[in-house]
Every structure is written in structure tokens, then in C-alpha cells.
């Protein structure tokens, strides 16, 4: 008689394919996963608790460190929440700068997602190409805000800096460049037989599952749900731009891969239009009091980050610090479906499925 035994395998927290400090305890029977338990919290810094002792402007640099791959959207959500509470109208030029910065951030984030995903699956060179192009975006954002990742660029009522000389032209030139590169990306990876074998039909979930698990962003749209807050609940000036919501129906890892790449193209469309419509002059800051005090009450706003819906809830008692601050962090919600997806899968598919969810641990742990 052959006696088999279940084995407990510990993946992470220090593992290159978990994209941060994420631990996964998997029970395997042979090569088949029977149970998976994610363990999170290694990167918990208590942003929400810290915020209770900070003024609103001081909270902004902390939000940079949640989803550090697209810090601009995090900057925006907190400023947007405070502006909503105080009824501040942001000047047009500032809105344009914000949208351009956010869309550049979205592209940079999707490039990392793309490059690292292929890297997880074992191909090294696409990662380098993705980072080569991302570096150009990072340089542009560096010129704009003075930092490469932790921008701290937006302020309640506007943005800190105006665009430097020639910056908008730089963005305008970047759009056709990246369009050209995207074709190369498809040539390089999208048709590769090994890649397709690894991701096609792997990690499938249905529309209903996606909604029940509160998934958002590309993880939701890969199942065919047409939901993008930039279109469905337009904030800032997104209603002025013409772009599509990218969806796929298959709900597998390949669908998520394609949604991300196509979203880059849609973001490029927005950037192109924003460069065209960019106001020649104007204020970059609204008139705001020196000490920002949100009025008594509460507010919840949500916007579309590269990873999904990021929300910010503020409860204020009229002081210069929030009474309670809560972020709805999309990676945290997107991760919840992982144990369900992994059961019954081959251990080799674990990384393919985890990578396609595209988590950022800074955001999962808060």
C-alpha cells in the first residue's frame, strides 16, 4: 500500500513572486492544492490610525506609501474627500495636471504589473522592456513633483507645482512612443505559446463571484462587467474625455493580462486629449484656508485606481485632524478571492494566479 500524506508548504513572506511581504500557507496533496490561507499584515503601518493625529496636508505623504506603484491616485482620493467636505472647487488647470499625473501613474502601474507577471512566469526580458518605458514616466513625474515614487504632489484645493517648461510636450511625445512599444509587447509575449499555455483558462471565476467578492478594477472587468468609475461616476474632469471601458468575458488570467494592456491604450487616449485641451494658463491652487479644517460630518468618495476602486471615508468633528479616516484599499479586497481560486489547482499555477490579481502589499496591509 502506498501511503500519501498532505504537506504544508509555506510561500513567502520573503518570496520574489509575492510582490512584497505576503505569506501564503498552502496544503498540498501531491501537486494539487487542497487549501490555501493567505497571511497578511507584514507591512502594516497603521496609516488610518496615524492619520487621526495628523493634519490633512500631513496625511498626503502617508497615502503615497499605500499603493506605491500609483501614488498619484492615492494622493487624489484623500484630497478629493476633503475637497468634497469643504465644497472646494479645484481650478481647471490643476484638474488637468491631476488627471495627467494619474493616467501616467496608471500606465506605469500597469507596466509593472505586466512586466512582473511575465517575470513570475519565467521570462526575464519583457520585465526589462517594461521598466525601460516605465522609467520615462517616472522621469516625467519626477520633473513634475520632485520624487520618483512618493510624489506628495496634490494638495487640498489643487496641486503643489505647475507643469515645468515643456512638460506637456514631453507627455504629448510620449503617447505615440508608447503606442509603438505596446505593439512590440504583444509581439514579444501575447502570442507566445508557452505563455498562453500557462495562463489560458487558469484561475477562472465568474461574474457573480467577482461581484460577490467585491472585486474591482481589471479583476472585475476581466469577467465582462462594464464598470469603471471614471465613466460611471465621473470625478474630476474625466467626463470631458472620450475613452472606452475595456472588458473581457473569459475571466481567466489571460483576460486580466489583456485588460491591463488595453487599459494602457485607453489611458494614452486620455493623455492625448488632455494635452490637446490643456489650458494655456490658470491657477493651480484654489483659495483654501491656511489651516484646513473639514466641517463636522462625514464623506465617502471613491475613484478608479489601476487596481480597482479606492475609497476614502472621512469622519470629521470640525478639527484640523480627521476623527476617523478609512481607506477602501482595492488590493485588499481583490486578494480575498485567492483561497477560492487556488483550491484544486496545480502548485505551479499558484504564481500565475496570484500574479494576475496584481496586488500591492503596501495597500493590502494599509
Amino acid at each position: 500500500m502506498i501511503r500519501t500524506e498532505e504537506m504544508l508548504l509555506n510561500v513567502g513572506p520573503q518570496h520574489p513572486s509575492t510582490h512584497g511581504v505576503f505569506r501564503l500557507v498552502v496544503k498540498i496533496d501531491g501537486e494539487i492544492i487542497t487549501e490555501a490561507t493567505p497571511v497578511i499584515g507584514y507591512l502594516h503601518r497603521g496609516t488610518e490610525k496615524l492619520a487621526e493625529n495628523l493634519q490633512y496636508t500631513q496625511i498626503i505623504p502617508y497615502t503615497d506609501r499605500m499603493d506605491y506603484l500609483s501614488a498619484m491616485t492615492n494622493n487624489y482620493v484623500i484630497c478629493h474627500a476633503v475637497e468634497t467636505m469643504m465644497g472646494i472647487q479645484v481650478p481647471e488647470r490643476a484638474d488637468f495636471l491631476r488627471v495627467m499625473a494619474m493616467e501616467l501613474g496608471r500606465i506605469a502601474s500597469h507596466l509593472v504589473a505586466w512586466g512582473t507577471y511575465i517575470l513570475d512566469l519565467g521570462a526575464t526580458s519583457p520585465f526589462i522592456y517594461a521598466f525601460r518605458d516605465r522609467e520615462m514616466i517616472i522621469n516625467m513625474l519626477n520633473e513634475l513633483s520632485g520624487a520618483r515614487l512618493t510624489f506628495n504632489y496634490m494638495r487640498v484645493g489643487g496641486v503643489k507645482w505647475d507643469a515645468p517648461e515643456g512638460w506637456v510636450d514631453g507627455v504629448r511625445e510620449f503617447v505615440p512612443y508608447l503606442r509603438e512599444q505596446l505593439k512590440g509587447y504583444h509581439n514579444l509575449v501575447s502570442g507566445n505559446e508557452i505563455f498562453l499555455d500557462r495562463v489560458k483558462g487558469v484561475g477562472v471565476y465568474s461574474k457573480e463571484d467577482a461581484i460577490n467578492y467585491s472585486l474591482s478594477g481589471p479583476n472585475l472587468r476581466s469577467t465582462g462587467v462594464k464598470w469603471d468609475l471614471r465613466k460611471d461616476e465621473p470625478y474630476s474632469i474625466y467626463d470631458r474625455f472620450d475613452f472606452n471601458i475595456v472588458t473581457r468575458d473569459e475571466g481567466d488570467c489571460l483576460a486580466r493580462y489583456h485588460v491591463r494592456l488595453e487599459e494602457i491604450e485607453e489611458s494614452l487616449k486620455i493623455l492625448e486629449q488632455a494635452c490637446e485641451q490643456f489650458p494655456a494658463e490658470g491657477e493651480i491652487m484654489a483659495k483654501v484656508p491656511k489651516i484646513i479644517k473639514a466641517p463636522k460630518g462625514e464623506a465617502f468618495v471613491r475613484i478608479e485606481s489601476p487596481r480597482g476602486e479606492i475609497g476614502c471615508y472621512i469622519s470629521s468633528d470640525g478639527k484640523k485632524e480627521p476623527y476617523r479616516l478609512k481607506f477602501r484599499r482595492p488590493s485588499f479586497y481583490n486578494l480575498q478571492i485567492l483561497p477560492k481560486l487556488l483550491v484544486g489547482e496545480n502548485i505551479a499555477n499558484l504564481i500565475a494566479i496570484l500574479g494576475a490579481v496584481d496586488i500591492v502589499l503596501g495597500e493590502v496591509d494599509g
Binding site: S125, G146, N152, N187, E193
Partner: protein, 139 residues
């Protein structure tokens, strides 16, 4: 096999492209003027208003002032000024609030050292850090 060969073609094409890497640290990294690096401090400009200390989100600035040595002049002058770079996140808020631009950002970012104590920088050190100082400090 088609997908494979397409990918290989793309890779081969890249061989003729220009290099995109920097020869760091042999050559300094090109950085924009706005880049937020280690601060430079001008003791003579500081009016000890404490705004930088109060805005700092990580509470890493410590400063003390003393009476102006010239009894005919009012106000205070700076006595000690320390920044703890173990926790400074180079967020730019201190330079943003300073009314006299006594504290400004530079393009220097190399802070690595062998001991944590070395990351405590005092007034003299911050005063001497006077290379690549940011030209435009206020928007």
C-alpha cells in the same frame, strides 16, 4: 511556433537600440531641479518660527532658538537644528512652509551609512550640505 519567432525577432531588433542605463555611481544621476533630496539649512535666514517642526508629519525635526546676541535686535536666532534622517521621508512639507526659505531641498540623496547614529544630522552638517541646492523652492 509562430508566437515564439515573433518574440525572438523583437528581441533581436532591440540589440541595435541605444543603451538606456546610467553609468551610476561613476557618473552622477541626472535629476530635475525639483528633486527632493537631503535638505540644506541656512542658519542666518532662520527666524525660529517653528513652522517646519510643526508641519513635519514624522516629527523628525528638532530645533531650539536663543535670544538674539545683539540686545538692540528683537526675536530669536537658531541655536540647534537636527533632522533625524532615520525617519525623514523627504516629503518637502518643511521647505514648503518655511517663510524665509531657510530650509531648502537639494539634489543629494546618498545617505547610506554604517550606523544609525550617523543619520542624525545637525545644524553644521545641514549647513555644509550646500551642493546642488534647489533653485526654485516655491511654486
Amino acid at each position: 511556433m509562430l508566437g515564439f519567432t515573433k518574440g525572438l525577432k523583437y528581441t533581436l531588433k532591440q540589440l541595435t537600440k541605444e543603451k538606456v542605463t546610467y553609468n551610476y555611481p561613476d557618473e552622477p544621476l541626472p535629476l530635475p531641479d525639483r528633486f527632493r533630496g537631503i535638505q540644506k539649512f541656512y542658519p542666518e535666514k532662520c527666524i525660529v518660527c517653528n513652522q517646519c517642526m510643526n508641519i513635519c508629519p514624522t516629527e523628525c525635526i528638532n530645533l531650539t532658538g536663543k535670544k538674539h546676541p545683539d540686545p538692540t535686535k528683537k526675536g530669536k536666532i537658531i541655536d540647534t537644528y537636527d533632522i533625524n534622517f532615520e525617519i525623514c521621508i523627504l516629503c518637502d512639507l518643511c521647505t514648503e512652509v518655511c517663510p524665509t526659505e531657510a530650509i531648502v531641498m537639494t539634489n543629494n540623496f546618498e545617505l547610506a551609512s554604517y550606523s544609525r547614529d550617523m543619520l542624525f544630522k545637525n545644524l553644521e552638517w545641514l549647513d555644509e550640505n550646500d551642493e546642488n541646492v534647489r533653485q526654485v523652492n516655491k511654486p
